[in-house]
């Protein structure tokens, strides 16, 4: 049973790892790498050599292999060089295509992008931008979504004066509410990155990027991060059902039972996910399904995390659209905004900005659909307060190793006496300072 995977991204790599007899067709010249880390590479916190994904030697991995057509009736795909690759099962992992915003001047008269303009999707994009950074003083990032903020922080950490332009009324508008967006904008501003929300870039000129609010941002670099759309052209031409993405069922199967789709190009129910963790999850699930395990995909439980230094953001599910009761604690003074959407005791969505101290627990509850008690959502958003120090009661155990209470030590005149008569301090030694203190307390004034 030959499985052919179109696309050599993260999801394809995982699938190839977990199945035998696989051909992977990638249109990039690089073997599969972890795209999720590109902003960290740009920031300089991750070695680009450590991006490469494992591909078992048994996998037939073909690079620079662009698929131009699917011949479903022959069960073959056709490559740009007109050669054909037969399949028993086809998996489309074609990802998404960045959309060019309607900004005049992005494309020069000769049809090429203005040299100041960068996309940020592939390793090539990352390298090109990385190479441009040392020669630039400043940068404008178009798009205030997750990727945009990551790139903006990366460029700022690299020492560029960076500005973010977001057409919507606040940052991360498809994930969080206005208050969270405002808190984020304040963080960025404090970190030295200017934020323009409700402003659209309209034109790129020699003077800079012109916004519809009248500002012109003088800039050496323009990075476009404003969205992408599922890459569905192949599937559409092949006559597969496509709406926003390639429509798949709970086995990630398209309208052709021999063709599956995973990752950014797929649409399950109403959901097109558009980022790595769900694609990764789908790949794992599809591998199990194709191996014959009885598993079904019931939609992604997504946790979107901003990967950027000094910006703490997590979005679980879709907090702005999920139905349920909202429990939230917002503190603009400290810059924290935390919100849980709870339905029948289960956290169905959440936003955490500025304080991720409980994220490890909240994501566990979310992923496992733990049924919480009535008080629990509130407790999860209230930080533990350290108990004030109190005098130890006489029956409190001070030395666990020897089982000695505070009272017995208070009755001793010296540390030596405590050691000799009670054996306190003779085990792990952890109580030595407490014993010294208690002996002093017990001493007559």
């Amino acid at each position: 049973m030959r499985t052919v995977v179109v696309g050599a991204g993260l999801a394809a790599a995982r699938l190839a790892q977990e199945l035998s007899d696989v051909t992977v067709l990638g249109d990039e010249p690089h073997p599969p790498y972890n795209r999720i880390l590109l902003s960290a590479v740009l920031e300089g916190t991750h070695d680009p050599a450590a991006l490469r994904m494992p591909v078992p030697a048994s996998v037939d991995l073909r690079l620079d292999a662009r698929v131009v057509e699917i011949h479903r009736e022959d069960r073959e795909v056709e490559l740009a060089d007109r050669s054909r690759v037969p399949y028993d099962r086809l998996v489309l992992a074609t990802g998404s295509i960045p959309t060019l915003p309607p900004i005049r001047g992005l494309v020069r008269l000769d049809g090429r992008l203005d040299e100041r303009v960068h996309a940020f999707r592939t390793l090539e994009d990352c390298r090109r931008l990385d190479a441009a950074v040392p020669h630039a003083r400043n940068a404008v990032v178009v798009g205030g979504g997750l990727l945009g903020l990551q790139v903006a922080r990366a460029l700022a950490v690299r020492g560029l004066a960076t500005e973010v332009v977001e057409g919507g009324e606040h940052l991360l508008r498809s994930q969080v509410d206005a208050r969270a967006g405002a808190i984020l904008a304040r963080y960025l501003t404090r970190l030295g990155t200017a934020v323009y929300t409700g402003a659209r870039a309209t034109r790129l000129t020699g003077a800079g990027l012109v916004l519809d609010n009248g500002c012109t941002l003088d800039t050496d670099l323009v990075v476009l991060t404003a969205g992408g759309r599922p890459s569905t052209a192949l599937a559409r031409r092949a006559g597969l059902e496509v709406r926003r993405g390639i429509v798949v069922d709970h086995h990630l199967r398209t309208s052709d039972e021999h063709v599956h789709a995973i990752g950014d190009c797929a649409q399950h129910g109403d959901q097109v996910t558009g980022f790595v963790p769900p694609a990764w999850e789908q790949a794992g699930l599809l591998a199990r399904h194709l191996r014959g395990e009885d598993v079904a995909y019931d939609g992604a439980r997504t946790v979107a995390r901003l990967r950027a230094t000094d910006l703490d953001v997590a979005v679980l599910g879709d907090p702005e659209r999920a139905a349920g009761q909202v429990v939230e604690v917002s503190n603009p003074v400290t810059g924290t905004h935390r919100k849980l959407v709870v339905r029948d005791g289960v956290i169905v969505a959440a936003t955490l900005v500025g304080d991720l101290s409980r994220i490890g627990l909240i994501t566990q509850h979310y992923d496992r659909a733990t049924v919480l008690g009535r008080h629990e959502p509130g407790e999860l958003l209230t930080n533990d307060r350290p108990a004030p120090p109190v005098a130890l009661p006489d029956d409190a155990e001070v030395c666990a190793c020897a089982g000695v209470s505070a009272g017995r030590i208070r009755a001793c005149a010296s540390v030596d006496e405590a050691r000799d008569t009670t054996r306190a301090t003779t085990g792990c030694g952890g109580c030595t300072s407490a014993v010294r203190q208690l002996v002093l307390e017990g001493a007559p004034v």
Partner: protein, 670 residues
Amino acid sequence: MKTHCPYCSLQCGMTLAREGRALEVQPWPEFPVNEGALCRKGWTATGLRGHRERLTTPLVRDRATGELRAAEWDEALDLVAARLRKLRASYGADAVAVFGGGGLTNEKAYQLGKLARVALGTSQIDYNGRWCMSSAASASNRAFGIDRGLPFPLVDVERTDVLVLVGSNLAETMPPAARHLDRLRENGGHVVVIDPRRTPTAERADTFLQPVPGTDLPLALGLLHLLDGMGAVDEEYVAARTVGWPDVRRAVASWWPERVERVTGVPAAELRALATLLAGAGKVMVLTARGAEQHAQGTDTVLAWIDVALALGMPGRPHAGYGCLTGQGNGQGGREHGQKADQLPGYRMIDDPAGRAHVAGVWGVDPDSLPGPGRSAYELLDALGTDGGPKALLVFGSNIVVSAPNATHVAGRLADLDLLVVADLVMSETAALADVVLPVTQWAEETGTMTNLEGRVVLRQQAVAPPAGVRSDLEVVAGLAERLGHDFSADPEEVFTELGRASAGGRADYSGITYDRIREEHGVFWGGARLFAESFAHEDGRARFVAVEHRGPAEPVDAAYPLHLTTGRVLAQYQSGAQTRRIADLPDAGPYVELHPMLARRIGARDGEPVVVATRRGELKAPARVVDTIRPDTVFVPFHWVGANRLTNDALDPASRMPEFKVCAAAVTA
């Protein structure tokens, strides 16, 4: 009389002094591992001497009444030997099985293996050490080509820069060891503790990470990912002293911190901070213990942490590297001399023809007469009384019905035996089920060697005469061997000398060690105090990186059993408690259920009032202990009492055959 504590693998040095008729524990300050310090278990260790529950006569179950009655030694041993012979004649040699313990001396472990392979001719021998550090053992063998818990003296801890303790609560389980931790911190070092509970050990740490039980493995993968990403891998060391890094490097490329956070419940920022700490440290020491090891993926978990140590270039470097904190008193020696199903003395593998020939030569038997590998501990118990499984079981130094996982099932298997023989000091829960109970000597009443967690062979010396009517395990084994037509020594020093010859040339070679040397040198390390300075024990001298993947607990939580259950020890008790629960000076409040205030409020539990913990295998009712030191999605039950292991999962690690004691799915109700 200089000797060592009867309990854990630290084997603290102590002095036993006669004060009139009493026997008193006093410090032995010169012994370097504990420098005179002891915990309350050590200080009260003589409490079983003259105890009214001490067994002093063999007991045989009366066929008519079903009750145990007193018997003479000859009657009891004759009976056992006759029935073993008969079962062997009817069902073959593998119808008789032997179950040993990690608390037995080296001499006993060796003699039990010889009893099985020579006098009984059975392949069916294993021991409770399989449930202790076997995952670390199989990982160390794989990575380094040798398995010694710590490849350096414990005191080296004080001189490292960053100490990472993964799943160890040593401040409670081996308290005097915590002194080395404190000294490390006084020296400016940094202690990291990784545990689902903020234990007393964690309270002494500079950094504490609190992962979901069963996720130490992805935590290590996440660290490797970050270390590689930040360029902190010691490429020179990796190139010169290891093989396998490229596979590990690719495998960890997909363990980005936010993915690790989601799986482990450890915030990505904490993981990054730890990676930064390790990357900046000159010397890093990683020590694992049961928390990381007692999993169906225990071997892989240890391998992942060894990968971290190797990537940083630490193993073989002074005051750095990887080690396992062994649990039982002779967990180390117990696994080296042939009571393990797949091993012969000297850590020789039983399927290695050269090893078989050597050991058979020492034993004066034909190598072909030695049986092959047998079942691992849990698989052995699971087969008892079944078709093709053993019909008789001889138990030494183990209280199976308290310490085995899925204990209700195991008790059922014991009940299906034709013959259960238990040698013990007291009527343990397992002895109470036996057909024949043989009363044996305890620690201060006999002599023998133990190998502590550092691979240091120490001598426990007899300080007092045993009560009338009891025999040492060595005498019991010799008595059985004699009745089966073999001449075994019961003299510990003679047995040790023979053990030395049998182990000579093996991976754990004791041939140069004598009782006199042990007395003179404060114990003797087999293989030398520090290993790996020049090379590792694989043929090419290089350590192995092993790429591993996270599979997760065998029994994930679900709607019916939504909580993680984990188990562990308390300071004042040891193992199944057969000894410590009977010592009047040690508090014995019974088991309890530790849970977080948020969970307590959810289910309506109150501190001190009973709750019921249920898993797919059983239930336990015990008082709640509401503490904010545990993860709110996890409950903890100590395992020294009957109950905890009725809950635990018997899923096994494919390499080490370690059961998954440390995580299963549970429900708790008030």
